[in-house]
């Protein structure tokens, strides 16, 4: 094992800050990585992990702060400079080219070539050496990468990292695409690398993995280092969770309104399953009730919502709205039955950005006012305007392109779309993503007042705090299963994370 007191750190990061268009993603990150250690960076979604990685790999330039590499102050001006220093990054999205061979992928961007003609034999031989070093010499270097499994693609990605004179490899949630057997193999490879003195920065949500592979931990939260150089073996899980979530929340959530005991069940999901994604999901939502799905990215929560809506077709199970079954796999049937979805990616899935606001509002219902197929734009505009005034859209101009509005106001457009349509079951996936703090409180109280008026609402958020604050009841989702159902007031962020991490380890 490494000795913390001995030797010079490979990399020191001090006071790193970075902001984008006024939003401060990093507010002061410190990090110290020793040669040959696995240094885990732990933090919730949005804590700033991705920004940190991109800054270390030269994709982003920090606003302030310093890098010390092997004892010398340096800057990382671009990804090539990072590779030059010996920092290689394996991104979460596998960044291999499916149409090229294993060898071509490994040496992509620094091919062995003479006068532009690649030296295929040498490339192939060197690739084979690296793959062998990673314990995967059996994969032919001439095989097309598209034919490999996700796990083997990752090995290729790692081999590419090693094809440079690499001293530090950053791995961004490498286990996300792997099953447990493959994770074991990954760990074996990581240990061999560290035995050679290569340092690894390992990003993961899963505490069990960190316990299995990590040497030291740095916890970041809200773009700041909360604690650094914690020895993995000596830090209790409870402490880590507290560091990750810690803050006392100012009360931005409107008070819950108790759901009437005789309120009708508007949405009833029974035994819903989508093969390979989620299984046996059942829940009811009553008029006036807000049910939250809490879970990590990749837990299956968005897929559950999309399947309920009809955007995906379930392999088994039923969805009923107001007691009547809804045709599986048909968005139109879902909308007709009274459901409305505000999708996760507002811009790419929700809005037609270049069309005026009012047409975005009426997108689900413009046919209603049309006569013989002829649009009634005057009514459309009026209805949209009235609805948007109620939601206090700013600017309250229905003719502006949706693109020009802020995140919070774009979210209001989507709410308005379903309000205009008369939707009784609202599905909200990440309703406050990209919405600034002030506007969030407004969105929260809108959602609460919609519930109070008798709408059944299902809400998903990456921010557990938001799910808990907004919902009456919470379903905890992990690995495609609902592992716990409880009143929102009976559980805290701690408890949810604890359940999720236990569920993920299974």
């Amino acid at each position: 094992m490494i000795n913390v007191d001995q030797g010079m750190p490979l990399l020191e990061v001090r006071g790193l800050t970075k902001s984008f268009a006024g939003v401060q993603a990093l507010k002061g990150v410190d990090l110290e990585v020793l040669p040959g250690e696995v240094h885990c960076v732990l933090g919730q979604n949005g804590a700033g992990k991705s920004t940190l990685i991109k800054t270390l790999s030269g994709v982003y330039q920090p606003d302030d702060g310093e890098f010390v590499w092997q004892g010398e102050a340096t800057t990382i001006s671009d990804p090539v400079a990072a590779l030059g220093l010996g920092i290689a990054t394996m991104y979460q999205e596998l960044d291999v080219v499916d149409g090229l061979t294993v060898a071509e992928n490994i040496f992509l961007g620094h091919e062995f070539a003479r006068a532009g003609v690649t030296d295929r034999r040498r490339t192939s031989r060197r690739a084979h050496e690296i793959m062998t070093r990673l314990g995967h010499g059996t994969i032919s270097s001439n095989r097309e990468v598209g034919t490999l499994s996700a796990a083997n693609k990752q090995i290729v990605s790692m081999a590419r990292a090693l094809s440079h004179d690499t001293k530090l490899i950053i791995m961004d949630e490498p286990s996300a695409v792997l099953d447990s057997e493959e994770v074991k193999n990954l760990f074996r490879v990581v240990r061999e690398l560290t035995a050679d003195g290569i340092a690894v920065i390992y990003i993961s949500h899963r505490l069990e993995e960190i316990r299995a592979i990590g040497d030291r931990i740095t916890v970041i939260k809200d773009g700041r280092t909360m604690a650094t150089n914690l020895a993995v073996a000596e830090t209790p899980t409870a402490d880590l969770i507290r560091l990750m979530t810690g803050r006392t929340v100012e009360n931005v959530f409107p008070p819950a309104v108790p759901v009437a005991a005789d309120a009708p069940v508007l949405l009833s999901v029974k035994g819903l399953a989508l093969r390979g994604i989620f299984d046996e999901v059942s829940f009811d939502v009553r008029a006036g009730e807000i049910v939250g799905l809490a879970g990590l990215v990749g837990s299956g929560r968005s897929e559950i919502m999309e399947t309920v809506y009809g955007a995906r077709k379930q392999t088994s199970g039923t969805v009923e709205v107001d007691g009547a079954p809804v045709e599986p796999g048909s968005v139109r049937a879902g909308v007709h039955a009274g459901m409305g979805l505000s999708p996760e990616e507002r811009k790419s899935q929700g809005l037609i950005l270049d069309e005026p606001v009012y047409r975005n509002v009426t997108l689900a219902s413009f046919g209603r006012w049309a006569r013989l197929g002829f649009l009634n734009e005057r009514t459309e505009r009026q209805v949209a305007r009235t609805q948007l005034e109620g939601l206090e859209l700013r600017p309250a101009d229905p003719d502006r392109p949706a693109r020009t509005l802020s995140g919070g106001n774009q979210q209001k457009i989507l709410l308005a779309r379903w309000l205009v349509h008369g939707t009784r079951v609202l599905l909200l996936d990440e309703p406050t993503r990209g919405v600034d703090v002030g506007a969030r409180a407004e969105i929260y109280s809108l959602i609460r007042s919609l519930a109070a008026s008798g709408t059944a609402i299902v809400v998903i958020s990456s921010e557990i705090e938001e799910v808990l604050g907004l919902s009456d009841r919470v379903l905890v989702v992990a690995e495609g299963r609902v592992i716990h159902t409880t009143d929102a007031s009976d559980i805290d962020e701690h408890g949810v994370l604890d359940l999720v991490m236990k569920g993920s380890a299974a």
């Binding site: 955007a311 879902g334 950005l353 069309e355 997108l363 197929g373 101009d397």
Partner: protein, 353 residues
Amino acid sequence: MSEQNSSEAQAALAGEGHVAGGLPPHDEKRSVLNRVLGGSAGRSIGLVIALLALFVVGTITAGDRFANVENVLTIIRFASIIGVVSIGMTFVITAGGIDLSVGSVLGLASVVATLSWVQNFADASNWIVMVIIALAVGAGAGLINGIVIAYGNVVAFIATLAMLVAARGLAEVLANRTTQIVRQQGFLDFFRGDILGVSILIWIFAIVVLAGWFLLNRTTFGRRTVAIGGNLEAARLAGIKVKRHMMYLYVLSGLTAGIAGVMMLARTTAGTSTHGTLYELDAIAAVVVGGTLLVGGRGTIMGTVLGVLIFSTLTNVFTQNNLSTSVQAIAKGVIIVIAVLLQQRFANRASRK
């Protein structure tokens, strides 16, 4: 840089005009200008100017031979067939698709409508039979395109490329590589005639343009088309039947190719498999020059009409001056690039906030 300044100055002027009228507050000045320039009328202004410029050039170089009513009608008649095809193409492109098959579908429709049994049947009943057959062939080919693209998930470029090749081949087989003369007199009498001194072909073009404009701008069909082109996923998640609508769009495009086939029969008095060769490229050029975005989400019928007229006026000016078609082709290429470059400038201005 000076252009930049002058556009700012224009913005200020436009804004002042509105403030004087007591309308939008200060911060909306830019958006008012943007809306005017970004609106369909504004985008067409450049095209109208280009068209007028061509007229000036034509009048200077060819004098009275160019600038007379007869010649103007010739220009429009020349534009009418490609114009009808371009209206259908405008819909497909607005929805983010493409239809490469229109030229050969036009040819196929002209061949099928002039098969001897069809003409015999028309003799025995009515010339309208030939029209119905041509339209059915066009719509049928479009339906096949639509099904393959929407339900077979084949990329539109490939599916319609296949139809381009196959329809041309089928036309050759049916016509046995001959030119089939239209001998049905009723058909010729009607379509080669005129109303109020204006060719029937021009009337058909005008009707298709009007119908296309209404369909795109005033109906639920048009709204769905723009929505799908603007953001297919958002349209789907809002409950619009995206696949079915895509299919309809290719039927529409095939139908306009069928109409163009009838017009071609009228102009040439014969059906042959080579009719409409490369019309797909002329139609796409006219649509894109007109300001419809090739990626979808914005379409303009008026722009397409102006695009078609610009190209046919160009041809006329060149012909009047006895210039070669090769030089004409070069000029066409230059116009396409300049038009798209200008469009992008406008698009950037409209989205800059």
